[in-house]
């Protein structure tokens, strides 16, 4: 494990299949992967945003 300015070249955990970026907070000991946002979660976000626009327009006023 080499180290400079708080950035470390680490070894990826065994549960990942691809090489990825990781940041190491050296004083806290925490490692943080750059990671991804899963596709299904993006679809959830998209769905909720579309529903929100519909709901705002439909229920802006009581009638």
């Amino acid at each position: 494990m080499s180290e400079h300015d708080g950035e470390q070249v680490l070894h990826k955990p065994s549960n990942d299949h691809e090489t990825e970026q990781v940041y190491h907070y050296r004083h806290a000991g925490i490692r943080e992967r750059d990671g991804v946002v899963p596709l299904w979660l993006m679809l959830v976000v998209l769905g909720l945003l579309i529903w929100s626009i519909y709901y705002l327009l439909r229920y802006w006023s009581p009638t």
């Binding site: 494990m1 680490l10 070894h11 090489t19 806290a28 992967r33």
Partner: protein, 963 residues
Amino acid sequence: MQDELVNRPLVKAWIWWSLVWLTVFPIVGVVVSIKFHNPEFLDGLPWLTFGRLRPVHVNGVIFGSFSTVFLGLLYYIVPRLCGVRMYKEAWGWWLLHAWNAFLILGSLSLLMGYNMGLEAGEFEWPLNILRFAVLGAITLQVLVTVFRRVETRFYVAMWYATAALIWTIMNLILGNVLLPYTEDLTGVNSAAMHGLYIHYIVGLWITPAGLALIYYFLPLSAKNALYSHKLSLLGFWSLAFFYPFVGTHHYLYSPIPHWTQTISIVTSMLLIIPVWTVIVNFFGTMLGRWGAVAGGGGGDNYAAKFLMLGAVYYLLGCFQGSVEALRRLQELTHFNDFVIAHSHLTVFGTFVVWAVGAAYYVWPRVTGRRLWSDRLASWHLWLTIAGFTVMAAGLTAQGFVQGSMLEFGANFVDTVKEMKPWWVARTLGGVAMDAALLLMFINFYKTAQAGSPVEREIFEAAGPVETPVQVVAKGSWIESPSTVFLAAGFAFFFLAVGIQGITPWLMAETRTPIVEDVVTKLPIRVADYTPQELQGRQVYIREGCWYCHSQYVRPVTGESFRWGPVSQAGEYAYDRPHLFSTRRIGPDLTRVGLKYGDDWHIAHHWSPQEVVPDSIMPAFPWLFEPAKNSGPPRLNEEGQALVAYLQKLGTGIGDWREGFASTQKVAGLGLDASPQAQEDLLEFGREIYARRCIGCHGVQGDGNGPSARFMDPRPRDFTKGVFKFRSTPGKDSLPTDVDLFSTITHGLWGTAMPSWQEISDHERRAVVQYIKTFSDRWRKEHVERPIVIPPEPPITTASLDKGKGLFLANCMICHGSGGQGDGPMVPVLTDIWGQPLKPANFTLRAGAAGGVKLGHDSEHLFRTIATGVGGTPMPVFNEQLKPEEIWDIVHYVQSLRVAAHEAELVAAGLKDADREQARTRIWAGLSAAARRGDLAKEVVQHRPHREPGSLTAQAPDSAVNRR
């Protein structure tokens, strides 16, 4: 043990006190919970009533149990994530003392009744200053440390921690300064702003603070890298943008502008984005580590277990919170235990559990000793799971049960009774949770005293390293402290407050005390509170009545049929702070004014269970004068003020009770049941009588129930078989079942006999049968057929003139020339029960003491004149007067009320141009002839010389003026 970054003794001291508050404040919750199913528990002591203990529990868990851990751990987290020691670290000792002083003095002040009337903002200003000073100083320490940091990147835990502090500093100004002290911030605007404040305490304090803890301690305790920085970004910024808008969802279906409610619903649902995002991040972080954590012991593994347990509760609780904001679900679940399930799932299940997990990780490191007992930690974990599952699942189910019962029209007290077994389960769950926290305290104490010392420094470990990965650069601008500080901390906060709080405030209709009169549909001005009513309002706030009783009627789930007309914004224009409330442990009180006589309120506050056996309301003996004689206890000044305030509630929208659909004197089909049906109903009637009537009318039906001593007039003595209001001919004739049903349904205005429209027709029919068992008359005499009421003739000036003449000849001697119940015979009038008699004042509004008991509607007045009033000197007139003459008197009596009602409206700002229209509609509310159009034009034309007596010139002794 030396630490180059962290002051371990300081962190240790904060956690010691955290253990105290983690134990004490949840125990207060158990005491509160016991009162739900055993209201006599610790009853009679002002300091220990539900209304005083509840805010101690809620504020204590938020600011004591959770926040003390979070604030203490900032002295651990911030230096480690910044790579420098905390700025002015020594302040931490003084701040710990000051924080404890705030918690202790604050709790005592709440117990003493010092309460600002704003949920989560109850503390008085000295305590708010103390709290603000501590949080302000810690915010300063954190920010300076952040900007001095040597760590290149700004970790997600720090985004949440700094944002939580900044948001809360601003929120405390909003809730502790702006809300209580801004003169013009009243009524619905007070509620709208308070909705934001209360949810900022949850969403912008404990939520980001809790997320800071789990983001910091989960990767460390699970010994794995955080799953995704990109998810961290999505989670933080979506929370920062959506959360500030959601607070208005606390008051859906209230008179707060509809569009702000809609925004709050949409943003509540959009909170699914940050919640699911962080949950994916946490579960991703656990990938490959579940087995090691689940099977492992020691502080680190138990930390991870609690953190992930809290994550599961976070997912459940927040999903519940989001969908709860949807209007249809809120119709059913708002105000009931579903909301309490949600608040416990989040505040305790998530954030307290996360704080506990963080403490498990840190405690061995600051004591230098390994966790004393894995077994105790395991008991802690499983007792928490068991107890909390019972509590959360039970409360959620309760919400649906009670909500469904109310939606289907059940009596409110019945729904409370239905909840009692569930509340016992809640108490047991709470006991398990508190016992678990006590075990934690013991384990931590023993760890500090007798835990095996660590052989070497326990380093923060981030898990195994195996395969080389790429180096990541420093973070982008979007995650810099300045962006978090300015965009999330300030910009989004002010955007939300501006849209959801300030914009509605600028709308005139939310601020002016103008409402639509329910009877005439014309605008009128609501009267301000009198000094006595204001004093009563303060008592109402001090005693925490508002924790159990809401004050707005929603246009859903039949509330307008249960309690009265839907709330209007103008009604609340003088309310500062608003008292909408978020909970209905007791019924809504928006329309309670004039529902009962003062005597009912007096009896009810002396002993609620004597009046309503299934009530869980506490007694308030300190609102009564010290006993001096053998008479009934009398209210002291504060008690009188409270009753005056209650009698004012909901009366500003006009004389709505006169025409309230739910209390119309209509009878269900088949009331005159067969003998067999009557017998079938009898046993049920006995049960209903025992639960609804016995407190006043007594076991023997002789009008000597335990509350009867407070009543004036005394409750009816059923043993004589004499009833005032009947449709049957002859002096003191037996009433029909329909007559009794009508009286029970309608209630007797101005007395302690309330309307029983809230119980089912079946129950009313049954209790009618049971009431008839108290007197032999029902067995010995035959019930006559009701008199026939001929069709009501048109209302003309001639009819009114004739009616006036007949009235002066036949009625004036008791009712007075102006129909105000002040005739010359009054001093000598008594009824057969030996009570002084007060003839009705026909000019008073519905529900006013001394007014008519069953309304001014045509048929009722005709029937009463024709058959007399049983047990009183009021004669039977159908043998002396022709039907058309009785109708003339009826119309004249109605004209007295019409004139008085009109005068009340004029006093409330009715325009001259609207008076004719108003008069027409008032007549239509009382008279069938007027409703069908048989109201002569000259009757409603504005011609002062035609007015009966001098009644149009002023509102004579109107209820409004009296009160």
